[in-house]
């Protein structure tokens, strides 16, 4: 088999993309909800992530990781672009302090206790992203590390710290 044909053979087609989008939409959406802490922004970013994925679907190589991992990487990159743009906007407009939103109800999921919801809101995006990947989406350590661009050990450390902080925040919320 020629290299060209071999490359073509492993390349996913349009039908594969539709399947991957349907199967992993909730995962990507949940990841972005946790990352941004805002459902509306997460919806926009999810849409943008899949638009990018659609454009780059030809570059996706199943041998280098699952579609879910690849989509989460794209989602993270999209979210980072959003955060950078927001950061620039806030600096430019000088109203960072005024831009603090009131926490919405049930941002991070349906049926979460108010204490847990509040605790999640108080975590940073960096802490929430490792939580969502490892706990909510149940990605293995290696895949989660690949999405975050760090080593598996560093990912494990971050998860441990994030969970400890979440527990502290929940306890503080309950006590309050």
């Amino acid at each position: 088999m020629s290299p060209l044909r071999r490359i073509s053979a492993v390349k996913p087609g349009a039908r594969d993309f539709a399947e991957a989008a349907e199967r992993h939409l909730d995962d990507v959406h949940a990841f972005l909800v946790y990352l941004t802490g805002d459902r509306n922004v997460a919806e926009e970013l999810t849409s943008e992530t899949f638009a990018r994925a659609c454009e780059r679907w030809g570059r996706y190589d199943p041998r280098r990781g699952s579609a879910r991992t690849w989509l989460c990487q794209l989602a993270r990159s999209t979210a980072l672009d959003h955060f950078r743009a927001e950061d620039r906007r806030r600096r430019r407009e000088g109203r960072y302090a005024l831009d603090v939103r009131e926490p919405e109800d049930a941002v991070f999921g349906e049926g979460l206790s108010p204490a847990l919801e509040g605790a999640l809101a108080r975590l940073s995006a960096a802490e929430r992203e490792v939580l969502v990947l490892r706990v909510v989406l149940e990605l293995d350590g290696e895949s989660a590390a690949r999405v975050l661009g760090i080593s598996a050990t560093a990912c494990s450390t971050r998860l441990s710290r994030a969970l400890q902080k979440l527990e502290r925040e929940v306890s503080a919320g309950v006590a309050a």
Binding site: S8, L80, D87, F108, E110, R134, D140
Partner: protein
Amino acid sequence: MSRLELVDDRFGKLAEELRAGRPVASDELRARVSAFRPAPRRRFELDLSFRRLVPAVGIAALAAAVGVAGVLGIVHGSAPTHRAVAEATAVHRSTKGSLPRRPPARASAYAFSAVTSADALRATSGRLQQYDAVLRVRVSDQRELSKRTQEALRLTGKLGGYVVSARYAAPGKSGQAVLVLRVPVEHVQTAIAQFSGYGSLVAQQIVLKDLQRRVDDLGVRIGRLRAEIASIEHRLAGSLTPEQRTALEQRLQRDRNRVERLRKARSSSVGRAQLARVSLTMLVGPKPAAAPAGRFRRTIDDAGSVLLRELELLVYALVVAGPLLAIGGAGMLAGRSVRRRADRRLLERS
């Protein structure tokens, strides 16, 4: 991976709650995403990602290097081994009183060969050239050595030449005869052909050195001095003070001496050009003359040389470009690290 492995027991309940309440995409978002359709892929699409491009370029460069070496090896391997290098071209100047004007030719030529005497360089007809030949011939036994030595001496005399030196030694089963001969240049080809036929020609070296320019220069200088002598003689015939006469006579004598020296030098050069110097070594020994390398062997040797040269160039390029590549690579790694740190800070702030 089980959930117990994933999260510490302390956080089990927390994790269960997070999973149970995981956010779900709205129908509107689902519809929006399901509308995306990737563009149909071309049948033969080359993926030029960096990770694939680097090994592909490396393999292509390696194939090109081996291919070039192979082609050059074949081209050079099939070429004859005889090499002649022209070193310079003389500008011939002829003046009144000098030797007749002759066409310009190679000032000197060098040839080294292990082929038959038929390939030997010939002196350029009509030009004065110093012709030196060195021949090394292997003969079968001592009897043959003795016979061929005598033949060589006889042939030299017959061709109008003479023996400068002759050394003959035949201890044990080996033997060697070293003859230094002067042969008229017009017969040197005949002599070389004959000498080469005495046995197996092991080596042959011929050096041609053009003497025409030197002889012409000497002729020009002699002509000038003669004109000057004539002028001095003319002045001496007139009326002069004793001091002037003495000075002119001294100058006249000096010029005459110089003319004589130059004439001798010119005669010597002409003599050298008329007699070729042939150094003939004949030897007896069990080792047969080494056969010229075959075409395949030459091809392999030449290809190996080209590959070695390519390797040298690669090492040179790496030495030159290595520090720049290292700096570039370090810069890229540092940039990536800085970007990741900035992203992390951004996420921690968000």
